[in-house]
Symmetry: C5
Subunit: 377 residues, 5 copies
């Protein structure tokens, strides 16, 4: 009698979002695409059918801030001649050709370009003589679909330029654009390393959104797991664990990356940006801490789930035992006087029937009393 | 037959206090409040409806100790001119304006002010040229409500001033005020770093109160879990585990903070305060040790709980099996002689009925004897 | 009633491949072959009945690339006189004699030769004055048999020569040959250390193939384990865990080996090869990360499996209890009126039979309603 | 049918000793006694009703060894004037006054005196200019009550004096007194650091006694847990685990303490005592190793316990199933021929009764044979 | 119905050998023998009734190799005068007197002699000015009794002498004697440090024999645990785990010992022996790796065992439920028509009996069909 009917009390909302773990397969597949090619071969490993990309060019210094779409590389030359800091933001990595051209113009090592396009990189940072290379994972929570997306962001910080490469447009990074445009904070004056910090800070802060989603689900689960331990709960717990494993896989190396930026001797990270980066580092550590705490709590929930299942089994068995213990002796008595022996004196007596009736009642009451005392019923 | 009736033996007192884990959600939410703002924006992330705050100003040296409420910043100037050490104690972080003004007067970095107001910080210490910044978590056990509250305390130690920022008034820190006022110990002579030590020492010592509560509950649980393993016990164990996870999350970085103060080269921690800080460090290590020990013990309890549940199931199944094994053969015998065959010679004999009676008795006794020997009954 | 009939829904394809764990025994046995021999004794510990080996000789520099089979050692002398870089690739370690001769000609330490032949080595690297010795494990996935094979590869890098020793021919290394032959990339110009890098890179990249197989199986398993938790699933999970343990045993030291090459001061690894090796190192770390993630996911699956089994037991017990609870009281009623007492007034009344019929129906419906409300049926 | 009768086979001796874990509460409570006091306040946190203390004074050099009870501090002055090494052994920490006076005379820091009296210290060592401070935990196994007691011992090593502070008299330390008195070994000549080593060595060696008790219990348990897995066994295992957690909590920092003495640069530990201390260090490591091994074994036992419980449940269920499977069909047959239909031709035939008898026998034998083949009976 | 009959399919051979864990008790007891004695007291802690010991004296250089039994210490003097390297091999540690005399002649520290006789030492190495002291554990697998014995071996390496101390004669070390005698390899020329290496190499290699035994058992177990999960399997798994814990306890410090020899600055380990020792180190690491792998596999087996037990329980319960679900309704029907009501019209009709027969059949078939579809039978 498996429960196939719709259980209205199930937290269906948990089940809506696409789990992160569905990408297990994809992540491994991407990497295998490039096997056998000579090092430095530029191949985009993501979905080819992604929306059309865009390259944004921003030239800014304390006084000006000019934004436009970079349609041809010549615009770049013109922009550079104007002076000021240059920020080239590539959105959409299917633009392999453009990435290659940018690489040549800014003198980027082919292996780095390969890493930028291969979106299954582990977060890392590499220092070169002419620039600093950073790969990060950003978490983009889409409220309308309840999906958490993991995207790769690469940053190349030069003396007066910043190149950023995203898989697609990310709404929460618009706030950095906005701040640059309106000149809020010291963002324009402090140059490209401070701008890079602002981007990294936005990315790290956005992990808190995923944490908040997790915290919400954990709270709902804590009540469900005790009151209604069904199979769907188990799947939700499993999905949460898997999601946490993936978040952790992104955030652990991210923390390491930020730390290396803090202790870096690179000329491209100025000393006055360091305290800000240390702040980002603290946030990353805080996220890891919280994630580990959630992991422990969810593990505890699984134990409670198992205990609840066991407890339910116990309840079922008690009921079965109570029923059997009451009716088996009674049925034996009645069966006894159903025997067809010729010489059963009790059967002929008038008091036989009422006596056996009272005896049955007495045994039943005795049993009920016994189980009552054992707190089974 | 689920046990819905009130179980008087349940350790209800365990269930009274609000669990620490209910803040999971809050902690994450606070952080998300500040996402997207430029760094250094001052926003208090706590509950806005908190009680009205207070700012205490204490000016002391070996000879004097003047305490008053700091109502306007000009009082501060007057106080400083008097000479001696200045301690400004802000209680209630909703006073954002006052915190900002204090920051400007003492030359505190905006990021630090942000950290002070953001009460979901991880305990940490940061050294600057002009001051030393420390964030801690204090544990305030409220005996009347049986609640354990975690509050954030920030300290800024300068050459001759100490700024402290608390979320609200904490009764156990009054003892430090008291000692300062009555001049007990060397507290007045030794200046602001020694005063800071006294505060940190009080905070760390107060963790032992939480430990004592845990120890009490563990002792009560150890008896309950064997004698009466019900579902509520499981929830209590789960809550204790969650509480320990949260305590651990506060105390681990605190230990690190104190250690960094001990090995610090900062001019704001004088050498003669170091042995005292090392003492605090020993206490922090001791707390961690004890907490880990409790964790191991509580994990062991969960195993015992599961074993007890299994054991109970075994008892139930044994009873069912004993009843079935005794009555099934007997009912078969009686059912046998309830058959309506014409030619059943035994039925007509006078000895038939007594014989089957004795046979039934014999089988029942045999079974009972067998189960007795197997120690089932 | 064990399920012995063929279950069509079982993912049979999982069970086809030979598990890695079957080599547990072999691995230990190989090592014991050489016990008691003086150090430096050359004994091949692999299967003697392996296919006939081959020794390939490639002489190349920027302008030329000559490939031939090395049939006698004199060819080597001739080749060396021609100038350029020399690559001797030994495929098939049963050619003990040839290995020994090569060792003498290139001045290799006898212990190193012993390590080359003893294919149960742990991946490691050793630096000598005249050459650099590297042992690796390669993963060769055979798509036709769905088998993952672990083979040992040894590399000896000298100033102008590279010796490689494989257990047997490996198709995916042909791509390196191919690139060398067609002169694609900078492979010819950069000499033997870059060539060695290409080989190591191919080997590390091929681990992703094994990861992809694992990812595929994990995805299939995730569905199976909830919908159809049978015994074969358990065995598949066990085999996957064992396979991961073995992959991990190979890849952990490999990462260490590559790291030591990156930080090596050896003259045989030129500085311009280092960035490439760092790239390989990143890949190795990525593989380990992914493997650990898979381990966590598979462990979670085992928990789900156990919960599903428990859940099924619960379903079975509920059915038994429902049946017993309905029919035991009913049978008692009918048995009651099967008693042969003379004086049972109800038996003689016309309404007795329909009444008991309705009573039975009422009890049955009541029970069904009760179980319905408890959501058991 | 819970087993409430006395089970003679239970290893009652395991249950005699008071468990270490009962001190959980005490340990935390002690610490809270001193909260809020200024640092350096001397309060003894142990039981006030302890037996009256004693202070032993021993003055010794190569030629003489004078022992007496130190009743007034003036005796100390006299003793010091005699020359030679001075050992003051305080037994019973309720003598707060005497400890304070000793502290003043030997110039001990008030924080150290506080640590000596606060018997819930973690083992540690601290170096000062004039002396070396060591806190240890000793294990005193009381054979008559089968109790393991954990007591705190503090040592202060000066240039020519040794102060020791124990909670109460410890019989096994008498052997050191004895050796000093009879002049066995080089103990008299080598001074106070060698004497301190002898005490530490005795303390560490005594841990082996606790280990031996554990080993004995483990051996007994290993047999019990398989043959007779009852509830008491579970409690014994739980208590053993808790005891090991507490032993570990004492011995881990002790190892660290001894190591710090070995690598110490202090003038109070002479170079020729170092090899002896290294020997003690090896013993401490050995104890930790053994303890970890025992922990693993006891964890394994818990798994066996659970499996045995499960196994027993299986046995019970098999019996129930065998009985039900045999008697349910038989009872159906007999019940069939108990029906009162007028037209049941078999009932009138003479062969009906014997036939049904043989059929019943056949079915029963068939079932028995089936279960036999399945190895259930 | 516990399975007490001999189960022929049980892997009895697993159970033959004496488990290593039986020494738990012994190991602790040995240590307690020496408690309370002054340091440097020479007491042999092993079994006193061991076979009579032997002391072998070998004097060798490149040209000669003289072997004899050392019956009196004067022979030693004569041997040393001859020149060449001296190897004194003590077999049987009950020869306390001889060990003491050797210690005096070669100037060995009394603590070292104590360590040699105390056979419960942890593997370690200690460097002195005049010699190097090494303690190891050797694994001696006795094929005839299927026992694995752990024995202690101590080595003292001097400038021109090597002292070895074993608990008893070990056949596999004869091969080193043999190689020395026949002059195979460079063993004679390279002196005592190379000889020590040969012994250590033999000892480490012999661990592979134990590994091979484990691997064999693991393979057999893997099949048994799924096909026939009985209680003996559980005990075998437990014993294997315990054995692995003990092997690990020996091999972990051994690895450390060999590493310290490799990086040692001691004059007694010449540079040309280092590569050989590094090779031994690699083997030790390999053994640890393999052991950890086995541990993981065996842990996985326990999970499979538990799942199999659960699975079997499920099968049993399914059978019970199938039987009950089929026969309970049928018995109710027959019981129904066994009622003695006067007015039961069906009983008098001719079609009553066949109808109820067909109804019973229909119900039974329906149930069977239902369980078939649920794949229970």
């Amino acid at each position: 009698m498996e429960s196939k009917k719709p259980e209205a009390s199930t937290p269906r909302r948990f089940l809506r979002g696409r789990s992160l773990s569905k990408r297990v397969h994809l992540a491994a597949k991407r990497q295998t695409k490039t096997i056998g090619l000579p090092p430095g071969s530029l191949v985009y490993v993501g979905k080819e059918d992604a929306e059309k990309g865009k390259i944004g060019l921003t030239v800014f210094d304390e006084k000006k801030c000019i934004e436009k779409d970079l349609l041809q590389m010549e615009d770049l030359v013109a922009a550079k001649e104007e002076g000021g800091f240059v920020w080239v933001a590539v959105e959409g990595l299917q633009q392999v050709k453009a990435v290659e051209e940018l690489g040549q113009r800014f003198g980027i090592h082919p292996l780095i370009l390969e890493d930028i396009l291969n979106t299954s990189q582990r977060p890392k940072t590499e220092e070169f003589e002419d620039y600093l290379f950073i790969v990060l994972k950003l978490i983009d929570y889409n409220a309308s679909t309840d999906e958490i997306l993991v995207e790769q962001v690469s940053l190349i910080i030069g003396p007066d330029f910043l190149l950023t490469f995203q898989e697609k447009h990310c709404s929460f990074l618009d706030r950095v654009h906005e701040r640059l445009r309106t000149g809020k904070g010291r963002i324009r004056r402090l140059g490209v390393d401070h701008l890079a910090y602002c981007l990294i800070d936005s990315i790290v802060d956005n992990y808190f959104v995923a944490l908040e989603k997790l915290a919400e689900k954990i709270e709902l689960l804590e009540e469900e797991v005790v009151s209604n331990p069904n199979r769907e709960i188990l799947q939700v717990i499993h999905r949460m664990k898997t999601d946490m494993i993936f978040l952790r896989k992104s955030i652990w190396p991210l923390r390491e990356v930020v730390n290396r930026l803090v202790i870096s001797e690179s000329a491209f990270i100025k000393e006055d940006v360091k305290p800000y980066l240390r702040d980002v580092y603290d946030h990353a550590v805080h996220i890891i801490d919280t994630l580990e705490t959630y992991r422990d709590i969810v593990s505890g929930m699984l134990e409670i789930y198992l205990s609840s299942i066991n407890h339910k089994l116990n309840e079922v068995m008690k009921l079965l035992t109570v029923i059997s213990t009451i009716f088996m002796p009674l049925t034996f008595f009645t069966s006894w006087y159903g025997m067809n022996f010729k010489h059963m004196p009790e059967l002929d007596e008038a008091w036989g029937y009422p006596l056996i009736g009272m005896l049955s009642l007495f045994v039943a009451v005795l049993m009920l009393f016994y189980f009552r005392r054992k707190e089974w019923i």
